[in-house]
């Protein structure tokens, strides 16, 4: 079995702040892995390094067997990414958005059309395929984004806070679709979240990040067992980070999350 993601002492500093501090982590192929942590814990910075948007200050990482610095293009070909922000273009239709994604990965014309139809059906968006995305609800946009990120059948899918700002019903729908997609394609999934419920529900293993460091790693059940027999993942989180969720986050994080939430709302 090979590894989909390997981080070794992965580090990123911004001026004086060390956003990710010596992260060493291995995610085997096919796993659904959750990075959990408050805003500002370094989850998004970690993902940005893994998807080649940000170069590490020290250490390194391999994704789908390729080095994120020296073989960035090979990494990009192997991954799909759904940012925390909205990545579908609201001024284009769902079908156009999917078409752009397919073309950027050079999915051949005929196959592209088939896959677009198939993924619209899969995501329950067939009827609205020719509508402008800005008329979509938050849950619909998220489903479309995941379809876009999966159109080229990536080895590894990165989801950065995939359900932030969604209501519980839309959140469940997104979970169902991510699960079903993974079942279909056997994709490795790394997602970040600060919803305990989401990590427990979806992920086979969870890593808890705090101030740029991995402070706990294991299956949701293992982590709960470490703290106490009846502990919830919420308590596990507090145990390992020493903070509640409400403390975290810079002004910029909060502003961004609220903006995303408002747009999805």
């Amino acid at each position: 079995m090979t590894n989909a993601i390997e981080c070794s002492s992965l580090t990123r500093r911004f001026d004086v702040v060390t956003a990710v501090d010596g992260l060493t982590l291995v995610v085997p192929e096919g796993e659904m892995f959750g990075l959990l942590g408050p805003n500002g814990a370094g989850k998004t910075t970690t993902i940005k390094m893994l998807i080649t948007l940000l170069e590490p200050t020290a250490g390194g990482a391999r994704v789908a067997g390729h080095d994120v610095v020296h073989d960035a293009r090979a990494v990009r070909r192997s991954i799909g990414y759904v940012p925390q922000l909205l990545s579908s273009d609201g001024t284009l239709t769902a079908r156009e958005n999917l078409d752009i994604s397919g073309r950027l990965y050079h999915v051949p014309h005929a196959e592209r059309r088939d896959r677009i139809d198939e993924s619209l059906a899969f995501m329950g968006l067939t009827d609205v395929g020719d509508r402008l995305v800005r008329t979509f609800s938050g849950g619909m946009v998220r489903r479309l984004e995941i379809a876009q990120a999966m159109l080229h059948r990536p080895d590894v899918l990165f989801l950065d806070e995939p359900t932030v700002g969604l209501d519980p019903v839309a959140r469940k729908a997104v979970w169902e679709h991510v699960r079903a997609l993974r079942e279909r394609d056997g994709t490795t999934v790394m997602l970040t979240t600060h919803y305990m419920e989401e990590a427990a529900e979806l992920c086979e293993r969870v890593g808890i990040m705090h101030l740029g460091k991995l402070v706990a790693l294991g299956t949701p059940a293992e982590l709960e067992a470490q703290v106490g027999p009846d502990a919830s993942l919420d308590e596990v989180f507090t145990h390992f980070t020493g903070t509640g969720l409400e403390d975290g986050g810079s002004f910029r994080d909060v502003a961004r999350t609220r903006r995303t939430a408002r747009r999805l709302g």
């Binding site: 909205l86 284009l92 752009i100 950027l104 050079h106």
Partner: protein, 274 residues
């Protein structure tokens, strides 16, 4: 792990060679912009109002007062190519706002994690910025017909005008993209956009001949790509329109400008997503 047996083979395994890929990716980006334009043309349409005002109001007043000596051409014939170049500049110089907006939304990230080269992404944006200006060129030609500008209608001349307008606007759109990458927020960009436009416009031969300028401004004008764009347009758009330089030189300057700016922008562009 049996789940690793995939439902479909890897799409990326059959990739075209690099130069073909570059052109395909460039066109994917440009076409996305054009589709947006087709869905909502109001922005480009409203931007076409300003050049009409320059021609009809500013042009008529200056022409009647005869304060600007334009040699063999009437002032209106002199001004029309200048306004055409100016409209390309004005439509392109705020292009960076859209790029910052895409960053704020997350659309930019989607492009940057794709395997498309940064050069292709930026060149696609530049081409889109260039093609948008053609919409305005069309409006300006309609206006020019109505006010009796002495337009050259030969097909090669018209194609030449289109080429020069697209090149000029592509260059300024890329310049705008670079500025966007440096200032990073829409608020700061709005201020800077205004500050940049006017010097580019006034330090060119768009509304008065370079010979009327003080010496230092003439130097600036010769470094300004807009001057070469206007120079080529004057010869290509107007019957008997004089050009100071050979048109090949004008076009050469514009091409080099675009290439250099795209090269700079493709280094800056990924930083916007960090």
């Amino acid at each position: 792990m049996t789940s690793l047996e995939r439902a479909a083979p890897h799409a990326a395994s059959a990739e075209p060679v690099a130069p073909v890929r570059f052109l395909l990716d460039l066109w994917t980006v440009a076409q996305a912009e054009l589709r947006k334009l087709a869905h909502d043309p109001t922005e480009v349409a409203t931007r076409a109002v300003q050049p009409i005002l320059w021609l009809v109001v500013f042009g008529q007043v200056i022409a009647q007062s005869r304060v600007i000596e334009t040699g063999s051409l009437s002032y209106m014939d002199f001004l029309a190519p200048g306004v055409l170049a100016q409209s390309a500049l004005f439509s392109a110089i705020f292009f960076g706002i859209a790029v910052i907006w895409e960053r704020d939304l997350g659309v930019l990230h989607k492009y940057l994690v794709s395997p498309a080269s940064r050069e292709a992404l930026v060149a696609g944006k530049a081409l889109a910025g260039g093609l948008r200006a053609l919409v305005q060129a069309f409006v300006i030609y309609l206006t020019a017909i109505l006010i009796g500008i002495n337009i050259r209608w030969e097909v090669p001349a018209l194609l030449g005008v289109a080429l020069v307008v697209v090149l000029g606007a592509a260059g300024f759109a890329t310049f705008s993209l670079i500025v966007a990458c440096l200032v990073r927020t829409r608020e700061r960009f709005m201020g800077i956009g205004q500050v940049l436009t006017m010097p580019l416009f006034f330090a060119s031969s768009a509304i008065y001949p370079i010979s009327m300028m003080p010496g230092w401004l003439q130097v600036v004008a010769h470094l300004n790509p807009l001057t070469y764009q206007v120079d080529a347009l004057r010869a290509l758009m107007i019957n008997g329109g004089p050009s100071t330089y050979p048109i090949a030189l004008d076009i050469g300057v514009l091409v080099v400008t675009v290439v250099v700016l795209v090269a700079i922008a493709s280094r800056q562009y990924p930083r916007l997503a960090q």
